[in-house]
Symmetry: C2
Subunit: 216 residues, 2 copies
């Protein structure tokens, strides 16, 4: 299987996929996408992903797969990172959904906007996202109390997905000492074999007025 990853180094959605690929010892070609240089706005990128988001996985040079959660499921199929039992599989999907509807837009969305100067901490929109992030951190903390990992007994793509934006929550102003079960779970994820963290900081062109307008 030949894999190419259309990848933005500062996107935790992309980092999820890089982490799983490292833990699978799966080789791949990384194709950098500079979002704020306009790389996702081209006709060529439209052919790869009409939703113009990253990551995108190209499989054997012909098939494209979009959405980080779908890529994780595809790569983890048949491995220790995705359970075979139907109920555990479905619970994995549950956390992949919650990650994309709550963890990513609230925690990740707030961090992006604060770090790139799109919002100030007291702005209404920042407060709305901070409160949404606190809700999902409380949900995670309750779920992880007494559990090692999010689904069943084993580390899975659910943990990889939720880890990606949760581990940088302090950079958005969240105090993870208020969520001790989350904090200790983050350390467990980081102690897994072949764990990597190569999430890059936002580059200068991610600030409004520096690069192309993609996210306002």
């Amino acid at each position: 299987m030949s894999l190419q990853l259309y990848d933005y180094a500062a996107s935790a959605n992309c980092y999820k996929v890089r982490l799983l690929l490292a833990q699978l010892r799966q080789s791949y070609e990384r194709i950098p996408v500079d979002i704020f240089a306009g790389d996702t706005l081209t006709d060529e990128f439209h052919e790869i992903n009409p939703a113009r988001s990253t990551p995108v996985l190209a499989i054997n040079g012909g098939s494209y797969l979009q959405e980080s959660a779908a890529i994780l499921v595809y790569l983890a199929e048949g491995t220790e990172f995705l359970a075979a039992a139907p109920l555990e599989r479905a619970r994995t999907i549950r956390w992949l959904i919650i990650e994309q509807t709550d963890v990513m837009p609230m925690i990740g969305g707030l961090r992006f906007r604060l770090q790139t100067g799109r919002l100030q901490p007291d702005d209404d929109e920042a407060v709305r996202r901070r409160e949404g992030g606190e809700e999902v951190l409380a949900l995670l903390n309750e779920h992880l109390a007494g559990r090692d990992f999010l689904v069943g007994a084993n580390y899975s793509i659910a943990d990889i997905a939720v880890y990606a934006y949760t581990h940088v929550a302090p950079e958005a102003g969240y105090d993870l000492s208020e969520y001790p079960a989350v904090a200790s779970w983050l350390r467990r994820v980081e102690s897994r074999p072949r764990f990597i963290n190569d999430l890059a900081p936002y580059p200068a062109n991610a600030r409004p007025g520096q690069g192309v307008s993609v996210y306002g």
Copy 2:
């Protein structure tokens, strides 16, 4: 397998599950949850779903499964409604994600707020959701042009999930004649064997000031 569905008749997230269960000819007990009477705010419901959302599937009286997309995956496993091939399975997950991150909050969220008097069409928040809904309708329309169904050649839980809030888009002010491939796909979904549509209108207590405050 004994199934109970914690179910809100006016939620299209719940309707998805009812539609799949009907098409699977799977019997189940429906347990009505009156969201705006406070049924999801009780300690008892917290044990069933700490995120306090519907639907929730109870399996054999003991295991709870939350999130409509996860329930669809669980019920469809091994049936014609979820492909066995890894890439088609992953593409199904892709659409389940897009449904929950874009279709539901934009189209469904706008419809709910307009129909229950939480927003007026010209409010900033209504405009933001309308534009987000137009983007995802354009994405769907492009994808469905030349395709019968969302994933591969066959009707699947991807279609069920996206149908749920898309078919009521006109009630949120969207003109589906601008998205002809979406409109004809809706008719194809409706012509599938054992198709049902029992989505209920929002009851009087869903209006602010009438029932408990759940969604502002």
